[in-house]
């Protein structure tokens, strides 16, 4: 670990007191909370900037915190939140494709329940700022391959399904969206939507 923090450490830092009451933690919490909800990627950038500044600032925290690893983890955490949504969506897609290929499966009830459960989590975790970053097409392709492979293990075949993801991000984030309502739209022959 760097020695810089040790050299510049002071027992009592007054420098920050000059910032005054306006920058109190409560106001920041409200602002950060809104930003966290609306644009998690921007929130992440703000926090990382603050942590980087703090890491080189003298103060009682200089040695109390493993800045290098903490910053790295926060840097990874924001994309990880998006990846969690992507992974849930992949599971949803795999399940609905398997329901299509093997509707009589003993697992079909569990798949349906999990689709509802995963969609609930997607709605909770998906943020508007993820719209541009989530690759629905890639997720759909992966899900098709995985569903076909899983079905094959039980001697079932995935029917011919649409090659492009039939859902949009807005549709998915909509509270009323339920992919189980009509599985036929996944079939090449069943495309009836504009």
């Amino acid at each position: 670990m760097a020695d810089a923090g040790v050299q510049s450490r002071r027992p009592d830092s007054r420098a920050d007191a000059e910032r005054g009451p306006g920058s109190g933690p409560r106001d920041d919490a409200i602002d950060s909370g809104t930003l966290h909800e609306e644009d998690i990627e921007a929130w992440g950038e703000c926090q990382i900037e603050a942590l980087r500044r703090l890491a080189v600032m003298p103060g009682p925290w200089a040695n109390a915190i493993d800045w290098e690893n903490v910053i790295e983890e926060i840097e990874d955490a924001v994309p990880a939140k998006r990846e969690a949504v992507e992974s849930l969506l992949e599971d949803v897609f795999v399940h609905i494709l398997k329901l299509l290929g093997d509707p009589e499966s003993l697992s079909s009830e569990r798949w349906r329940n999990e689709v509802r459960d995963f969609m609930e989590q997607v709605r909770r975790k998906a943020k508007p700022s993820m719209r541009q970053r989530i690759g629905l097409e890639t997720i759909w392709q992966r899900a098709r391959r995985k569903a076909a492979r899983d079905l094959e293990a039980f001697d079932r075949r995935l029917p011919e399904v649409v090659t492009r993801c039939p859902y949009s991000f807005d549709e998915i984030s909509d509270g009323a969206f339920d992919p189980l309502t009509d599985l036929r739209i996944l079939l090449v022959a069943g495309v009836s939507r504009p």
Partner: protein, 171 residues
């Protein structure tokens, strides 16, 4: 320099999260979303623990499912899953996770999961599943541990099940 981050990530994350919260509580704390940052750091340790548990559970599921359904066409897939479970469990295992692991709970969860997974034609479900794991953590992480050996062990153990304490140590 090796940090606690590399050797014991659960302990690291708990200590760092506590330090960040202490820092947030000081009067001179600079502006940042401390509670969320601390929460994310805590998640690092939790997710490591979850990975270890998921890996071990996956290994146990394969052994139980293989015991109930030994002729299955899924043998190759189960070998693969056992290996991937072992790799996942080893990767994040540190002293604190190890100390807090409840292998018997994982064993019971694995049994439930295996029962959901095996095909309906299978009738070889053990009538009285032991409530404690017949495998120790060290056995599961041993490089000699394989899917086939695990299934074989279950055959021997479950046909003449005795509590752990009465068994002779294998080594």
């Amino acid at each position: 320099m090796t940090s606690l981050y590399d050797t014991d990530v659960l302990l690291w994350s708990e200590e760092q999260a506590a330090a960040l919260r202490r820092l947030a509580g000081t009067e001179t704390a600079p502006a940042a979303d401390w509670e969320r940052i601390a929460g994310l750091i805590e998640d690092v340790g939790r997710s490591a623990r979850d990975h270890v548990e998921a890996g071990l559970r996956r290994m146990l599921v394969q052994a139980i499912a293989g015991y109930c359904d030994s002729d299955s066409a899924l043998r190759h897939e189960r070998i693969r899953r056992t290996l991937s479970g072992q790799i996942e469990a080893e990767r994040d295992l540190g002293p604190t996770i190890r100390a807090r692991l409840d292998l018997d709970r994982l064993w019971r969860e694995a049994f439930d999961e295996a029962m959901r997974e095996i095909p309906r034609r299978v009738f070889g479900v053990p009538p009285s599943i032991p409530r404690t794991s017949p495998f120790t953590l060290d056995e599961l992480l041993d490089e000699e541990f394989t899917y086939d050996r695990a299934v074989e062990r279950l055959y021997i153990l479950l046909t003449s099940w005795r509590p752990k304490a009465e068994r002779n140590p294998q080594t």
